[in-house]
């Protein structure tokens, strides 16, 4: 049982986040990969989010991809 639990924990660590390099964003930047079909609405939502949280981004890459706000 202990071995199974240890194996499970180890496997779950293997599934951690991985970095997407700038040259790997081609598919992520496609419109189909956007979280919403309404870019204008997404922009408005992002603006509201930025005003409230002082941060933005992380929703899509089509808008820039330069790694800046």
């Amino acid at each position: 049982m202990f071995k199974i639990i240890t194996a499970f924990i180890l496997i779950s660590f293997l599934c951690s986040c991985s970095t997407v390099e700038p040259w790997q964003k081609e598919i992520l930047a496609e419109q189909d990969m956007s979280l919403t079909a309404q870019p204008l609405q997404l922009k408005t939502d992002d603006h509201i989010y930025f005003s409230k949280e002082s941060s933005s981004g992380g929703r899509g890459f089509g808008g820039g991809g330069c790694g800046c706000n």
Binding site: P22, C66, G67
Partner: protein, 155 residues
């Protein structure tokens, strides 16, 4: 030659000249070697069709190319698109007069370990990277131009 045929001949000549004005050389990453540009400054820019600031940087690079045409600054723009049609469409929309390198396997991008898109590197005549710039904003243009001018004058 009749008057009308002369007119058509001049028109076609003008059309050919204008088509040639947007001509550029596309080199495959395998055939590209930075050492071929030894003795010259190289402005190496990485772009992609999906990168919005990259599109904005192209007209500026054309202007830079014109500005330094006699000063041994060569502009090389490396496209990292995997899809050929998107690569071609981008260049049709934003024609370049400088050398274009197609890096579909991202070999050059990995070699330079890009931090963002677009990424630009100014390489001196010895082949060393002397200036790096990530992203492209219109407000950055004067400072980038000043930096390039200072580096080129100092060498």
């Amino acid at each position: 030659m009749t008057k009308s045929s002369k007119k058509y001949w001049i028109l076609s000549l003008l059309l050919l000249t204008s088509l040639n004005a947007g001509a550029y050389e596309i080199v495959n990453e395998k055939d590209f070697d930075l050492q071929d540009y030894a003795g010259k400054f190289v402005y190496l820019d990485f772009w992609a069709s999906w990168c919005v600031p990259c599109a904005k940087s192209f007209p500026w690079m054309r202007q830079l190319d014109k500005q330094y045409s006699n000063d041994d600054l060569v502009i090389v723009a490396v496209g990292i698109d995997k899809k050929q049609d998107k690569f071609d469409k981008f260049l049709q929309k934003y024609p370049a007069k400088f050398t274009i390198v197609r890096d579909a396997d991202s070999k050059l991008a990995k070699q330079f370990q890009l931090q963002g898109m677009p990424s630009s590197y100014l390489i001196d005549p010895k082949g060393e990277v002397v200036y790096t710039h990530v992203g492209f904003r219109k407000k950055d243009i004067p400072s980038v131009e000043a930096k390039i001018a200072t580096i080129i004058k100092s060498k």
